[in-house]
Structures are given as C-alpha cells and as structure tokens.
C-alpha cells in the first residue's frame, strides 16, 4: 500500500489522456476515476498499517545541493491526499453539471486542467525534498493560471490569471534561492533545520524567511493576498477546489512540513504568526467591503488561511493542519453552494442583484447555512474545534496575537452573515428567472456538508488525527479543546452572524467602501510596464543607433575589463 501511495500522483494522468482523446460520452467522465482512486488509496493507507515509504533516486539533478528525485509517503502526505481526493471528487462530479453548457472541447480542456492540477498537487505533498516540491509547486501555479483564465472571452480573466502568476513568481523566486543556497546534501524537507544544513550566512533565519515568503505567496498572505480575490474570475468549481480548499493551503502545508526549521528560527515564527493574524483580520475587514459574492468568500479564505499561518507561527503545526482539513470541507461547501446560486442566476455574482433566494434554492440555502455555521465556529461543528486548537496554542505562545485573533472571529461572523442573509433572505431585487439546479449540482454538497459538520470529530475527543499524523506535524499532542477561549470565540462568531441577520438584507448588500484593495499592485504593475515600454522603445530599428550603441558598448566594456 505504501508503494501505491508514493505513486498516487500518477493516478489522474490516465484520465487526463483519456479525456484528451475524447473518451467518454459526457466529456470529462473519463477523468472521474482518478480522484476517486486517490481518495481510496489515501484513506486505505491511513486506516491500514501506516508504514511510511520513500523513494530516493540520487543525483537526478547533479547540480543541486540535493538533486535527488525524492518522494516520501507518510501520514501528513496521506492526510493531505485524502483531503485532496475528497474535495476534488466532489468538485469533479459537480463540474460535470456546472460546465455542461460549455462546448465539448472546452469541457474536456477543463477536466484535463483539473487532472493536471490534482497530479501536481499530489506531487507537491508527496515531495521529499525541495527539488521535487518545486515540480508540484510550479505545476499547481500553472494549473491555477490556466483555470483562472479558462473563460478567455470574458474580460479580465487573463489579467487575473497573470496576477496569480505574478504573485506566485515572487514565492517561486524565494524558493529557487532557498534551493540553491543550502549546503551540499541539504534539501530534504525534514532535515533543513540540522546544524549541517544551517551552515550558511544567515542560517535558520534566512532559510526559514525564504520559505515563509514562498508560502505567503502561495497562500495569499500579507501583501501578497491580492491575487486570490482576482482569481475568482475562474469557474466556481475551481474557486472551491484550488482557490479555497487545496492549492492555497499549500503554503500552510510547506510550513507545517518544515516546522522544525521554523522552530529553529523563533523570530521568523513570530513573524509568521503576526503575518497570519494581520491577514486574518485584514481579510475579514476586506470581505465586508465586497460587492461581489465570490470575492467576499475569497477574502474569507484569505482570512482563514491567516488563522492557519498563525497556528504554525504559534508552534502548533498540528492545529494548522487540523484547521486546513476542516476548512477544506466547509469552504468548498460554501463555494459550491455559491456556485449553485450563480449557476441558477446565469452567472450573476453581484450581491446587489442577488437576494431572497431561500425558497427558490432550498438545497443551496441549507448547504450554505451549514458551511457558514461551521466557518463561524458554532460550538460542536468542525470549524469550532479546529479554530479552538489554534486559539489555544496562541494563548500559550503569544497572548497579544491570540487576543487579536479572538476578536477576528467576530469579523468572521459579520462577513459570512452578510453574505448569507444578503443572498438568501430579504426580498428578491428583481424577477429574473431561476434555473433549478440539476441533481448533479446538489449531490456533491451532501458529503461536503457532512464533512463540515463532523470533520472536527476526527480529532475530538479521541485524538484520531493527531495520533495518525504523529511526528509529521510537529509534536502533535492531543489538543485540550473546549477551552473557554475557543468556546467564547465560537459564541462571538455566532453573535456576529446573528448581528448581520438583524441588520437585514438592505444594509448587507451595501458594501462598506474603504478601499483596501491592493493599490500597490496596480502601481507596481504600471511602473513596471511603463519602464518596459520605454526600454523597448529604445529599439528604434535604426541601424545607426544600433551601431553607435554597439561601439560604445565595446569601448565601455573594454575599459571596465581593463580596470577590473
């Protein structure tokens, strides 16, 4: 079984080829088996003997400090694969219906991108060293770009995809530097913190900071958050799978995987926590200001990823992974039920045009309610337990940050309540027709809703998840839970949620305009492209100028070379 786990990343590739060749009556149906088998493999491994497996082909890339082709299948990887398989299976089924209006070639392309994404994500979590991690890391970035830009004829999709690429590129640059600066023989994700591997100027702080930058870019933290809301230009299933449940959590995964390194660099750990808390609060505030349904949810994702970062920074990698697991199911649920709404309204995403859909779309209504309550942390639901774990760790590690995070739960209640009541309650703003969703759109919501309710009990009270993860997610001692801190945080969230309901639909739909959208990105992009245009304009095509520049260049380089 362990050997199969190592090669789980290849499971969706047959589907990719078959779909590409046009197999299957309904485009994409040939791809369905991939994530299903992936889920089965991961769960079987977790329920079975849980023997870790490794594959190490040394000197695959002889020029790197650690250029082995190195896969490692362990508990952390299996948990991530299980989440990936579970959410992607739901999303695949959902997409069969959601994308059914596309031309067949487009549907096939969509599923091929999805298959490619799942394979890349699986490589990412199975990677044993930085070099292999990069394959998955870049692969998911590429898949994200392609899927954000999937609807090419719609304005802004390409720009949104390029934004995602740009933010990813920042992280990739940091990762590239990290991969070459470690001493020879280093690169294994688990041994980066050993003294031999920290023998570089800068040591643990430098390496850990570079990984933090990479993770922040992938998980839309801090100033690099800007691409995630724009990424909502892609189809909604993509927003659920890639930009909520799995890919954006890759940064969290990386930090958890290398948590020993973070522990060796306390200042960076504090920075991680602070970054997470700031993003959790900022994301929550920003969500309140969105006029667009999906963007509101996207900022919620930014905010929740901030909780996970805070958990890692507090020295509780297990809490972060736990929240990652619960968040994957309830956020995917929220997005998919939002997708039902958007599909029913022919792509309408503006909050001002949505409202009063409670009776017309009871399935989506129920699903969104469950997801919202799990998100705000209604005691007993999954989100409550995992958030509790993070807050609890924060209380012990850094009380000030933990209190800020505690306050953040109120924001969570406010913004999700605003979206929920704004879309489903109140009067209908117009009388546009509503398509009733096909069963294929609704069925995938059921397992996700179940997950959103019960995922927390994977850990509480029996400690199943922490015992399964063991050392792979730090010293995963079972969390205390039902701490007063966490309990009151849940109540605060519910209070915020109720407050939004009480304020009513009209106010809810009205976005609070403060203007925290990333202005700096636009400015940087304008400057950059302006500079590029000016530089390109130097190339006038005139031979005289070119010759002049060449002779001057030769003279100057000769002078410099003789003086150097």
């Amino acid at each position: 079984m362990s050997g199969v786990l190592l090669w789980a990343w290849a499971l969706t590739l047959p589907g990719l080829v078959l779909t590409g060749l046009g197999v299957g009556r309904r485009p994409g149906s040939a791809s369905l088996a991939g994530p299903g088998v992936l889920l089965v493999v991961a769960v079987t491994w977790l329920l079975g003997s849980r023997t870790a497996a490794e594959l190490r082909q040394v000197d695959w890339l002889p020029f790197l400090p650690d250029g082995a082709f190195h896969l490692r299948g362990d508990a952390l990887a299996a948990v991530m694969l299980a989440v990936l398989g579970f959410v992607s299976l739901c999303v695949y089924v959902y997409s069969l219906a959601y994308m059914a209006d596309e031309p067949p070639a487009g549907q096939r392309r969509f599923f091929m991108y999805l298959d490619f994404f799942v394979a890349s994500m699986a490589i990412l979590v199975l990677a044993g060293n930085l070099a292999v991690l990069l394959i998955g890391w870049a692969g998911v970035g590429l898949a994200s770009f392609l899927l954000i830009s999937f609807w090419l004829d719609r304005p802004g999709t390409l720009g949104a995809g390029l934004q995602a690429l740009a933010a990813n590129a920042v992280g990739d640059a940091a990762l590239l530097v990290a991969i070459v600066l470690v001493p020879a023989g280093c690169g294994d994700l688990l041994t980066l913190q050993t003294p031999a591997c920290l023998a570089v100027p800068g040591g643990a702080r430098l390496t850990a900071s570079l990984l933090l930058v990479a993770a922040a870019a992938k998980s839309a933290q801090g100033p690099l958050y800007f691409w995630l809301p724009s990424a909502m230009a892609g189809p909604t299933p993509i927003s659920a799978l890639i930009h909520a449940a799995t890919m954006v959590a890759a940064g969290v995964y990386l930090l958890v995987r290398t948590n020993a390194l973070l522990a060796a660099a306390p200042p960076v750990a504090v920075a991680t926590a602070a970054l997470g808390v700031a993003t959790a609060l900022g994301g929550g505030l920003a969500s309140l200001q969105q006029a667009n349904f999906k963007r509101g949810l996207a900022y919620s994702t930014v905010s929740q990823l901030g909780y996970m970062f805070a958990g890692v920074g507090f020295g509780a990698p297990f809490a972060a992974i736990f929240h990652l697991v619960t968040h994957a199911s309830f956020k995917a649920l929220l997005f998919l039920s939002a997708g039902v709404v958007i599909h029913a309204r022919d792509g309408e995403e503006e909050l001002a045009a949505l409202g009063g859909l409670r009776r017309a779309l009871p399935g989506a209504y129920a699903a969104f309610l469950v997801g919202s309550l799990a998100l705000v942390g209604l005691p007993g639901l999954s989100g409550a337990l995992s958030k509790d774990a993070i807050l609890d760790a924060g209380e012990q590690a850094n009380l000030l940050l933990a209190v800020c995070l505690f306050g953040g739960t109120f924001l969570t209640g406010l913004y999700i309540g605003r979206l929920f009541f704004g879309v489903f309650h109140g009067p209908r703003p117009d009388e546009q027709p509503i398509h009733h969703p096909s069963p294929l759109l609704l069925w995938p919501l059921v397992p996700l809703a179940v997950g959103a309710v019960v995922a927390g009990y994977l850990e509480w009270p029996a400690g199943l998840l922490s015992s399964a993860l063991g050392e792979t997610a730090g010293h995963a001692e079972p969390v205390r839970f039902a701490s007063p801190f966490g309990f009151f945080a849940g109540l605060l969230g519910v209070f915020g949620f109720a407050l939004s309901g009480w304020r009513g639909r009209e106010q809810a739909a009205e976005p609070v305009r403060v203007g925290t959208d990333a202005g700096w990105v636009g400015a940087v992009a304008r400057r950059g492209y302006g500079l590029a245009d000016r530089l390109a304009a130097i190339h006038s095509g005139r031979l005289g100028r070119y010759a002049l520049a060449s002779v001057f260049g030769i003279a100057i380089i000769l002078l410099i070379g003789l003086r150097a």
Partner: protein, 96 residues
Amino acid sequence: MLVLGTSAALLALGSGGVLLRRNPVAMLMSVELMLNAGNLLFVLAARVRGVVDGQAAALIVLVVAAAEAVVGLGLALALFRDRSRVDVDDPAEVRG
C-alpha cells in the same frame, strides 16, 4: 610603437566612419578600414615577435575581408536598389 598607434587610430577611425555615414557602401568601406587596422597589427606583431605566422594570418584575413565585402555589398544592393534614397536608417520596419 608608431605603427601600433596608427593601427589603433585606424580602428577607431573606421568605427567612427561606420557610425557617421548614412551610405551603406561608405559604411562597409569603414569596416574595411577596421579590418586593415587588424592586418597592420598582424604584420607588426610578426615583426616584433619574429614569427612569420602573423604575415600568413594577414593574408588569410585579406581573404576574409574580401568575402565579407562580397556578402555585405550583395545585401546592401538587394536592400537599397529599389529605394529612392540611400540611407541606412531608412529601413526601420523591423524594430527588434
């Protein structure tokens, strides 16, 4: 020393000519000046070093100069023959 200085000056003079002239043929003639500077250097070095290879190399470079002139003039002729004005800065449709 004198000849060495002359060759360096010729190289610079030729490069100045390439930059100054708008006529492609004059430009190529200036390039020939630069190549002549190199040849002068070869012969001088053969003398200074007492190695005859320099002179032989100068002969080979003469051949190279001829080959270059042939191709260069061919291209210039093809490009400018149908134009009303001969100016190397005129064909600027391709902007790298």
